[in-house]
């Protein structure tokens, strides 16, 4: 099974990655190779097997809805690329 240029473009868009034209070519080849390797899974009979999403067959723990973390907004925002008055700044979304 091979991956097309169109597939690669769609995937890059979903993954929020830029795709230069010269890079598309190598992605097509590499993804085709990797998918060929993954394709081996299709030969295995798993008709009576439940998926195993996690090594622990348990439910995630729940805890009571109580405040556990102290307020540390300024500390956390001190490492942000751009902030103002406690908000994160990003390039304009609406004109």
């Amino acid at each position: 099974m091979s991956v097309s240029r169109k597939d690669v473009k769609v995937i890059a868009t979903l993954a929020q990655l830029d795709l230069e034209d010269h890079a598309a070519k190598s992605y097509i080849q590499e993804m085709t190779d990797i998918l060929a390797m993954i394709q081996k899974l299709q030969q295995i009979d798993t008709s009576k097997i439940d998926p195993m999403p996690h090594p622990q067959d348990i439910q995630l723990r729940l805890r009571s809805d109580e405040l556990t973390e102290p307020e540390q907004r300024s500390e956390l925002q001190s490492i942000a690329p751009s902030t103002e008055k406690g908000f994160y700044l990003v390039p304009k979304v609406l004109d």
Binding site: A15, M37, I38, D50, M52, P55, Q56, I79
Partner: protein, 487 residues
């Protein structure tokens, strides 16, 4: 005292007997790190912080205060563990300015036991790789032969311990990232059971596979560190609320009637003849020590790499979506709109292997492929896990080679991702099943490159793993060898 291969007990004893202070010890290791700068084992060295903390431990020792089991002993952390106030880059440009506001639980626990953090070790970007060549900074070199890779992704930690730049270091293992570099660098590397060590503050790659572990010069040292590092942490929802493994306490317990399963699938095409010979010799050694070798079958072994390369990239593509240039880390200056800023930041911030895995992960999770790839891989994952459960009904441990070859040359596999992925052919299945495993030095090939013996135990049986490794190390001296580079 020869720091190149001193055990933690010897170091602790020297500190206890006031033969040296912790400050002197840290200074000696810092000199060794400077002298071996060409290995590129470290991304960050915290000289001032280490000396300051060492001075504090020395003062506490003088005043007779009670000290932790690792008091004053310097260690290094893989740069995937958040360390408060220090750069935590994860080997990536996208975190190349990230000074973590908090520390990982593993880091805190080891510090609480008295360990001194001397620095952060180099690694494959976001732990994706088997050679430590995929670092944003520079590739790590193998101290046994600097034209070769140390393995990966925790290659900096492995190279640093092998070269005696530090007595022990942390690592993480998602598909073999502790055991494979431990094998290629000739040291002991253990990955505990999934859930034993907290993942809080450990930058996520594939959350259902990631587990923190230890590189050390012996099983005995690894046991001491593992005991300090593991334990329940409410900040990690997958952390097990059970008593710690108490590996040190059980280390000398005899392994009467030990049954070792030898999977026939591990000794087939693809395994280097010399590696096979050395591993067989190690198995004979266990037999002479009273163990029984049993032939076993892990029929889905071939499926481990394909299964892993669906699940790990899928989880990675989801985990790495958080890196968007908004809250922390690198932000591209080229984005005029928000969407463009996201894309430019991620394309400039992530290296080629990380982008490739995000692409694969996004593909297998996308509409139309989710069931065919992702859910299918999860079903195969259960088959792989079931294989282990069945085999462990007839044996106590599984042994085989850690890697198909010894350390390969730098650049040899960089242009062929699939070839690179096959380095984890014996290790990845263990992560899929969540089991504990260790790699210990078992000898050297004709080029003098180390070979690792891989030992896998049933879930939560870390102590048994370390007992067996310790038994071998009491009767062999491969783990005491040091590379010529080291003086």
């Amino acid at each position: 005292m020869n720091l190149a291969n001193s055990g933690l007990n010897q170091i602790a004893e020297a500190l206890d007997n006031r033969e040296m202070s912790s400050v002197e010890l840290c200074e000696d290791y810092l000199t060794r790190i400077d002298d071996a700068e060409q290995l590129n084992a470290f991304i960050t060295i915290d000289r001032e912080g280490a000396i300051e903390n060492a001075r504090q431990v020395d003062e506490n020792r003088q005043s007779g205060a009670s000290l932790g089991p690792l008091a004053g002993i310097p260690i290094a952390h893989k740069d995937i563990f958040c360390t408060k106030g220090l750069l935590t880059s994860c080997g990536s440009r996208i975190l190349s300015n990230f000074i973590s506001p908090y520390s990982a639980t593993v880091v805190e626990r080891l510090s609480a036991a008295g360990a001194i953090t001397i620095g952060k070790t180099n690694m494959d970007e976001f732990a994706m790789g088997s050679s430590s060549e995929h670092s944003y900074y520079r590739p790590v070199l193998n101290p046994w032969d600097t034209t070769r890779v140390p393995g990966g992704s925790s290659g900096g930690s492995a190279a640093a311990v092998a070269a005696g730049l530090i007595p022990a270091a942390t690592g993480t293992d998602t598909g073999g990232s502790i055991r494979q570099p431990a094998a290629l660098c000739g040291i002991t590397g253990i990955k505990p059971s999934y859930g034993r060590a907290s993942r809080f503050g450990m930058i996520a790659f594939a959350s259902s596979l990631d587990q923190a572990g230890i590189f050390a010069r012996s099983a005995k040292d690894a046991a001491l560190l593992l005991d300090s590092m593991c334990g329940y942490d409410p900040k990690d929802s997958t952390s097990l609320d059970i008593p710690p493994p108490q590996c040190t306490q059980k280390l000398e317990t005899p392994l009467d009637g030990l049954r070792i399963g030898i999977p026939e699938e591990y000794f087939t095409a693809g395994l280097d003849a010399k590696v096979a010979e050395i591993v067989q010799r190690a198995l004979k050694e266990y037999e002479s020590l009273g163990a029984t070798l049993i032939d076993v079958k892990l029929p889905n072994s071939d499926a481990a790499i394909p299964c892993y390369y669906v699940i790990a990239p899928a989880e990675a593509s989801s985990n790495l979506s958080r890196f968007d240039g908004v809250r922390y880390g690198y932000r591209s200056e080229h984005g005029e709109s928000l969407a463009q800023m996201y894309r430019k930041t991620r394309s400039e911030g992530f290296g080629p292997e990380v982008r490739r895995r995000i692409m694969i992960g996004t593909y297998v999770l996308s509409h139309g492929y989710y069931d065919a790839y992702y859910v299918k891989a999860q079903r195969v994952r259960r088959l792989i896990s079931n294989d282990y459960s069945r085999v462990f009904e007839t044996c106590d441990l599984i042994m085989g080679p850690t890697t198909p070859t010894t350390a390969f040359e730098i650049g040899a596999k960089m242009s062929d991702p699939v070839l690179m992925y096959l380095n984890d052919v014996y290790t990845a299945a263990v992560n899929l099943a969540g089991l504990p495993a260790i790699s210990i030095p078992a000898g050297f090939d004709e080029l003098g490159l180390p070979v690792g013996l891989h030992i896998v135990a049933p879930y939560l049986e870390e102590a048994r793993l370390l007992q067996a490794a310790h038994l071998y190390q009491k009767h062999t001296d491969y783990h005491l060898a040091t590379p010529d580079l080291v003086t």
